[in-house]
Each structure stands twice: as C-alpha cells, then as structure tokens.
Symmetry: D2
Subunit: 338 residues, 4 copies
C-alpha cells in the first residue's frame, strides 16, 4: 500500500499515519517528494487492514499495490484449472459448448432441443427451471416436473446439465440433478449465495454481472474458491454500456485475455445473452473463440418463433450445427479443438 | 405494442404476424407507410405475451407503448404512498433522515453513534449486522450479539432500525428486530429475495443496483408490491458510470424527479455510498433535498478515522448535526421540513 | 510517480528502471516489499516524462501521485476565479443565469425569447447561430443574418451573449459579437479548438463531454488556461450513462463539489441538455444550486411547442420566471443570491 | 413516426396533434387502444420534421420507426463499399492492415518502423504528425519536417499513408501527402470537420468516439457521405465503459457485425488504442478478424520501451509479423485472406 499525504499536511499527521501503519504490523518507508510526501507500507497486503489509513487526517489517498484476490490469481496457481464434469473436460485445449433453451417449456421442447444440440456437437445442456426475470407476473413454477424432464433429458442424451440457482433454498435441489451449478449475472455479487455454492462439490459457472468490473468478477470467484470449491468457470455475458439501441448488452470480449492473464480459471462467453440478437451470435461466438475463450454458452430453441423466453436471441439446432462447424475452423486456427 | 415489419417483408409474413396477434387476444391495426409497414396491437398490455411477436419472420422490431410496471406507477395510484414506521412518517412533506455506521463494531461504538445521530436529528438508525462486501476474508459474524446490541440501541434511543437482509434464511430474523428491511444494491434484481420481502408486513427500503435502469429499478419494486407489501421505499445510491477517479460511484439524482413523476413511492438518496467521499456528502445531500428526495441515508461514525468499514465516506455526529441544519434551510426553501 | 515492479522481476530489470528514472532527472527510492518491489520517483511531476517507465521490462504499473493539471488546480491558485463579463460577475457569491433558445430561428423569436428571459431575471443570453447536430440534412446557415439578430438582441435588452464556436474559422467571427464563447460537449477534447480559444481575450464556457472524466474535463480547461486565457467557466451538461430510457443523458451533479474542491474555476450546469426533458429542468436546477453551482444555462423558448430544435427540453419565459423564484429561495438557504 | 398520447389526453389535444402532422405533409392514422391512443404518421421520414410533435401538449412520446441515416445504410446500397487506396483494396474479402507508431519521432524511427511493418505484411502506414493528447504541455510541432519524413517513408517503402487531421486548417495539408485521412475518436462528432473531409476526394478513416452509440457513429459517417465522399472506413477503437482498471477502454467488437448488417461501409478495429495494453492486442486482433472486421490498425514501434507516446500499447515489428501469421490462419478459417 502506498499512502499519499495531502499537500500541506503537518508533521504531526505524518507521524500519526506512520504510527498507525506500524501498529497494524507493517513497516513504513517515507519518501519526501517535491510536491507530496509518500509512505510505502510494507507487509502482507491480502487482508487490507491498511485501508483504514486512507481516512486519517492529512492523507490524500491510499493506493493498493496488490490485486485483492489470491486463490483465483495466476500468480498463486500457475497451471490453468481443468475441470472434469463427469467425463467432459473444461479448461483444456478443447473448447466446450453449452447449449439449450432459455427455459424448459415442456418435455417435448426440452427433448427436441437436447437431441438437436447433442447432434450439433454440444456436450452440456443449459436447462433452467425457473425464469424470474423481466416481470413479476410470470407463470407458475412447476419445479418438480421440470426437474423430472431434465433428468430424462440427461438420461436419454447423455448431455451434462447446467442449471441456475437463484437462492439458498434451492442450491441443494439443483445440485442434486445438475452437473454444473450456474450463478446468474444478477447474483454475481450475492455473496451469501457465492459462499453457499463454495461449499458444494460441484463445478460452478459464474456469470459476470452487468456492471461488475473484471476485478470484482474475479473477486466473486474468490468467494467461491475461498470456501473450498476450486471448480469455478467464469462466464462473460455482456455488460451495461452506453449503447443499447443495437445490442441488448455489450458483450465484452476484453475479459477473455485479461482473465487468462490474471487467473487460472476457465473463461466462457455467452453471446446469446450478451447481444440479445440471434444474428449477432455467430460472429461474436467466432470472435470469442479466436480471443481464447475456453467455452461458449449458446441459447438454442427448436422453434425460436414460438419460444416463451428469449426467442429473439435463440438459434435453431441446425444453425448451431453450422456455427459449430465454423467454430471448429477458428479453433483449429489457434491450435485448439472443439 | 407497435410491431414494425422489416423492409421487403412478404405479405405472407405480415398475415402470419396479424394472425398471431389476434390469436393472443389483441386487435391488429395495419398502417402501410412509405418505407415500412407497422401494426398496432390493441389490448391490455400488462402481461406482454406480444413480446414473442418480435421473433417472427419479417418483423424488424416490437416497440412497447406502456411501461412494464403497474402497481408502482403513478397512473395506477395517484396519491403518494406514505409509510408509517412505528410513528415515524415516510413519504409526506417531512423529509426523513436515516443515519448510522457502515457496520456494528461494538456496543460502545453503536451506542455512541446512535446517541449522536439521535441528537443531530435523525429518526432512523442504519445498523447492518453483516458486511460481506469487498473481500471474502472478512471477520467472524457474531450475528446474535450484534442483534442484541441493536435491540439495546433501539430501546435506549427510540431510533427505528433499518437493517439489510442478504438472503432468504435471514429475512425472518431481521424482520424480528428491524423496523425497515433493506435490500442492498447488489440484490436489487435478486427476484427471489424481492418476493420474499414482498410477503413481509414490514416496510422495505430498496436500493437501486449500480447498473439497473430507472425502469428496472421501479420493476424491482413491483416485485415486492405484487406480493402484497405496499410499503416500499426507493433509494438511489450511485450508479456505475464511466468515471470513478473522483467518486466511487456516480450519485444519480435524476432518478428523484423521474421516480416522483412515474411512481407514488417515496424516494431516498444515500450520498455516502453514492460518492464514497466524506467531503461530497453534504453538497450532494443538499442537492438531493432540493431535487425532491423524501429522505436521506447517511453514514455516520463516531470516529471515522477508526471505522472498520467505509470510514472514508462516514461523517461524524457533529458534522451530521451541522448538515441537518443546512438541510432544514434547503427543505424550507421548497416548502418542506426535516 | 510510484513504479511497481512485476512479481519475479530480475535485479537487472530493477536496475534498468532505476537508471532510467535517474536519467530523466528524478531520484529513485526503492522499497522492497513482501510481494512486490516498489520505486518512488521523486521530482517535479508535471511534465510526466516518467510515463515511459511503465513500458519497461519487469514493470507492472506506474502510478502517478499528482493530478495532471496545474493552472486549473485549487492548489496552484487558492482564491476562486471571478470573471467579469462586461459588468456581469461570474464565479462570486451571486449565481448567474444564462438562458435562451436552442437556435435562433427569426428576429421575432429571438427578441421574444430575450425579452422573456431578461424579464425573468437572466443576465446572459444563449444564442447559437448554427445547429449541426443530429442530422446532416439541416437547413441553410444564414449566419450573417443571425449575427445581426443577436446584435440587435444585445443592443435592445442589454443581455450578454453566449455563442458556441464549432471550428477555427468561426472563432474570430463569434468572438466579434459574443461576450462568452462556448465550446460544446462534442468539442470538449478538440484540442486545436481549445488552444485557439485559449488565445482569445474573451471568457470561455467549456461544456463537459458526454464521456470525459472529471479529470479530463479539468485537463481540457488546462489547455485553454495554458494559452493565457484565465477566464474559463466549466459547464456540466449530462454524461452518457447506462440508462437513457427516462433521461436523454444523466446530469452528473457530482462534478460540482469535485470541481469546487479541485479547481478555482466557476462551475455551471445545463439541466436542459443534461436531462432532455422539460419537466426535469426545475428539480435538477434546484439541486445544482444546492450542490454549489455558480450558474445555470437553461433552454428557454417563447413557444416550445413550435421550436425547431430541442423544444422537448425548453421551458417558457414564464416558467423560467417561476423557476428563478424557486432558485432564489434555494440560493438563500446556502447564503448565496441570484 | 409513432406518436403516443399521454393517458388522459383531451380530444382537443389529439386533434391538434393530428392537424400538425397533416400540416407537415404526413397522413395520420389513429389507433385508440385500451390504455393509450397512438397515432401513426405516414410519409417520408428522413428529414424528421415530425420530431416537433413530441413537444405538443398531451403527447407522451414520439417513436421514430426508421433509422436516421440513409446513404450509409445497407438498405440504400446493397453491395458493400470497396475502396481503392492507390492499388490497395479495402473492404473486399482481403483484410487490410494499417500499422505504425503513435507518433513520428525521427526519420530513423519512422523508417525503421515502416520497414518493419512492411516486412511483416502491412500495406498502410499509420503516421501522425501531431500529438495533442493527454497534456497541453507537449513538445514543439515540427510539422513540415515530419511531413517530409512521411513522404520519404512512402517513397522508400511504398506503404500508403494514414494521417489524422485535427482541424479545418490542416485538412488540405494532410490530404496533400496522405492516402487516407483519419478522423480521431475525439472528433467523431465534430460536424464541421466531418463535412470538410466529406468534400475531399480521399478515403476517410473515421474512428468511433468513446461514447458515441453505434447509430451516432454511422450518422457521423453519413455527414461525410452527404457531402459526396463515398469512401468512408469505420474504425472501432474502444468505448468508455464502467471498467478501466484492466483496459484503457473497452474494445467493443459488437460494432463489427452490427455495422456489417446495417451499413455497406468497411469496418476496421484498432485493438491498440482500444485496450491500451500490448499483451491484449493479439487476442483482440484475432477476435476482430473472426467477427468479420475488414481491417485492423495496430500500433507498432521499433522500440516500445523508448516510445515517446503509447509505448505501453505498441508491439514490435517482429511481434506484428508473428501476429499477422496468426491472423492469416484465422482469416482462412472464415474464408478470407490477409
């Protein structure tokens, strides 16, 4: 931590800051500059008790030197995390595809979608049992029935299941049938839920919040890791930028190389939610692969025209098959496979 | 809902859209313009089944005419909501002050803070029993002890208590001693939690998420209202804008007049979290009152230099007293009181 | 400047950085921390040759300690700048009002507007001779005629004139009849134009760009000051935030206290462009005054229903008179006048 | 244009709006809905006189149906624009590379950079003669000398020259030696300058402003096109989003597929300015190509450690050669070449 004293600070204020730094167990190095006096506080920074120094009289700013996360960092663990999802490998040279509809509508729809995405080449099935979004005036939540449908999809197709959890009281239920538990963008900083899934022994797919910074996003993963669950998959799904006339969100691919440099965790991209537009899915999916994404999550519906949710961003199984063909070529161009 | 057909759409596509609109129970009015054909779908719009039309072949856009919220709207309920918090009135001509520390640190700290804010003129006490934010490496959560401290604060000072709930399993606990249950910014779109507090018979203070639009913010309130709890207080606390060099967030006062025009709910402002800087609290608090805020939430700590959390944005009780003096004058200038 | 070495940097890299710092005329203080080595570079920071150090091998980050601006800073000049506009004082305890239409449409419209804003209590007249915005398919620019109209407005009403300059070749023309030359938000970082108006001997009203940070905004003023023109008025007019459903931009009042702390320049606010909605002008104008603004710029049209530009955000002269009445009361509450 | 009447509007207000629409030369179709009355105004929308209707009494909103641009639109001109830059083709199946340093520092540096980028496979040379950015305390502008250097670079290497113009009075000078005239991000909405380059007979590379929406960006191109210059190259260079801790801007690749759908103009991407970090350039460049970009602009310096500007985002010629190798493979994967 670097502490910058305000212009015109008194010697007394400076000494008080130094005393506080030492009392917190750090060493204080004072540098008297031409226009500012600066103090370097030396010691382990990870628990940040030094932050309180910023509030002291005569202090202009306290600038942390280290990033706030540790377990998630590439410094802490150099080899990249590879996750085994019941035989499907995530995070290695092979790029993984998750596909499926925005919501389970019926057994027929779910099975048709699952067979389609399986045939196209996806290995995981996106299957959400609720949809609370957009309006409180939703339908009934026939949860148990939907879980049964998902179990049948899994049994018949062999697809691994990715399902979102919304709250503490459904985490156990979802973990009982899902292979990967998803945390949605709106819960990215729901720290209670993050800790709860940190105590699971299931991989967690963590979606980035619409306005979490990259650092906060990695910190959200740190909450899960710090509870002992090391199988965290990061997933970019679009940020809230200044332009929502042409895309629903702004899919932010910068997070791919940044997270690959700073962390050891796999990074996925969801171009369907990220753009909200069906015709933008393919180019942005190709771009994500070219930028180094470890996987994609794509919304697929057998009949997007009739989808109850998110039809405007869903593609057909046949379109997924064609897209995967394109993605295989792009993956090969960077020495990866799908 | 206005449906805009794409340029070059076929007559067959147009007829399919019309048929779908009618099948959903709406009447379709076709306007054939010079460059586009447009369909007005007439009927009750509140459940929005029409959204699916946007995905149909030949459709360029579907533009809703009505706002998505109803119970929260000023159209639905013309008189402004006034909430009684055990004798303290929120939402009337009198402006209400909530003040207190970022976290309960000890009985001594809590009581000193409470006596200070009481003496300064605040009527509600901000008292959070957890702090999950910023780092997973927090302290121990001695919850029961903190609740006891809060009960003593309430008994001794008569201040009403505002406490944040983080998850389903603490809602009941918090409702057992708090007068107002707070939903934090990071949970603003945690729809499960919103519904849960919608089933309480306690006022709810709902903080705006850092990137929720004003419309989504009001929709979040709609979730609470739709479960039967009509005592919702909106609270602006800073959005994530493009500049975080000088303020931690950008306190967005525009939401005050917008929410007063569109809803009947009281609107509060938290200039402490909204700016993150102690020296910005007073001018932004004055501005909030002048813009029409019904109340303020201000972080006050007896010794900000020693605060464990958020000290940089906390003011002292004596500074709160001085600020309230200023605010009384501004309130009087717009014919309100504090 | 603080230079943070990357983890695992070599001693050779460290020595190279130290040598470079010394060669640039600075002293280097090395602090070897537990997880990072940090170098404090001591010397005058204002010309920032040290920035190049950030690119050197083994360097993780270079963190400036000082703000990049100097002439605009409150450190450099402690007393606040007061500008005399031909008898009208800007930047003192009295708050100044600029009002007028979005565009000069005709002599009749201009005079009617001017008489109205004069009667309401404004002292400066906003009078733009072009409007290039929004569409390239604008009308003809009968510039000379409009200048004549403005001269007549000035002669008849005594209002001082504020006119926007768009480019180098009209700066002289505009300076010949305007009392204050305005730089629009879209030119806030047009450095050539900033330098040009820096060589004028006329006050400059500088509007903040929609996405300039506060620091960049003050730096834009620094360009003008550095050419010798010390009469710069800052003007906030709305930033591009994530929500443009309810307001056209997000009027960012945080800049008022921030600029008052960091600079000595007067700060104005334009709630008309900042919100884009007529019914938001009054509450946001009151808020701006309460937050400490030194002046306001308000769009006024004698017949907003018939305005060729920006009618949706224009108020009538009678509404301005009523608003100024409100603002006088708010100003009095903070010991200022209008 | 769709006009939505406010709830509770009077019949008189409705008739006044209809009369105004007709007076402006449009036909008015009234749809009386359950909760709102809506009017469709039918006629050519391109000059938007209808916007004034929004300000009328009783009107809630006026919603345009058509996009505001015409000449730039893919509707207006279906075949994609291909630009010939003295033998180098831009906008066809071949992807074009512009590379060069942030600023011309010396003849030696410029020639070394130019030979390097030429050898690596770039066809255009980025060569700016000024650098006004960041601080007003820049060096001297030895413009004529720099132009001579650029002429020699062009003569020796055969690279075509891309140079930024900053203002009206240097447009002619720059057009005299540059093959492509660049408009920088900060001038993206400098409408006077846009019109000026619209009168040139040289291709224009138009950089997107940091906070211009995609629609405003295309509208900026429309200004150039409307003056008769049809050779406009769009260039994304990073937007100002909420996170600038890890990247200087957020490179927004969404604009690639959006602009390819909505316009016929070539779209380039500048990953160097867009991210501000050298190690992010390669992955984001690959992503841009995979998303469909027609070209890239990359900052290359023979010795980034010693660069006077933008060294942190510059790569070496040898790194460019390696990157182009990667890009060739990605381009081949989508059936394009470099």
């Amino acid at each position: 931590m670097i502490i910058v004293m305000a212009p015109g600070n008194t010697e007394e204020e400076l000494q008080a800051v130094i005393a506080r730094i030492q009392q917190l167990g750090y060493r204080a190095h004072v540098i008297r500059g031409v226009e500012r006096t600066v103090i370097g506080a030396v010691g382990h920074e990870d628990k940040s008790p030094l932050a309180v120094v910023e509030q002291m009289s005569g202090v202009e700013a306290a600038i942390p030197i280290l990033k706030p996360f540790k377990l998630a960092s590439a410094e802490w663990k150099r080899e990249r995390t590879v996750i085994d999802v019941d035989g499907v490998t995530i995070g290695g040279p092979k790029i993984t595809l998750i596909a499926g509809p925005g919501a389970i509508e019926s057994e027929e729809q779910a099975l048709e979608a699952a067979r389609g995405v399986r045939a196209a080449g996806a290995e995981l099935f996106r299957a959400c049992i609720y949809s609370h979004y957009m309006t409180p005036y939703g339908g009934t939540d026939s949860t148990r029935e939907k879980i049964e449908i998902i179990r049948r999809v899994r049994a018949e197709t062999g697809l691994k299941i990715v399902t979102e959890t919304f709250s503490l009281d459904d985490v156990e239920t979802i973990a009982s049938f899902a292979d990967v538990v998803q945390i949605g963008a709106r819960n990215c900083q729901n720290f209670v839920l993050l800790r709860q899934v940190g105590r699971l022994r299931k991989p967690v797919l963590l979606k980035r919040g619409m306005s979490t910074t990259m650092r906060e996003f990695i910190m959200a993963a740190e909450y899960i890791l710090s509870e002992g669950n090391s199988d965290v998959i990061l997933c970019e799904r679009g940020i809230r930028a200044h332009d929502e006339t042409e895309t629903r969100y702004a899919l932010d691919l910068n997070v791919i190389p940044v997270s690959r440099l700073q962390t050891h965790l796999p990074i996925f991209v969801d171009p369907s939610h990220g753009t909200g537009k069906r015709h933008l899915v393919a180019p942005m999916a190709r771009a994500a692969v070219a930028a180094g994404a470890d996987g994609l999550m794509i919304e697929v519906h057998p009949h997007p025209d009739r989808a109850l949710h998110d039809g405007a961003q869903s593609i057909r199984p046949s379109e997924l098959a064609e897209l995967i063909g394109q993605l295989r070529r792009v993956a090969a161009a960077i020495d990866r496979t799908i």
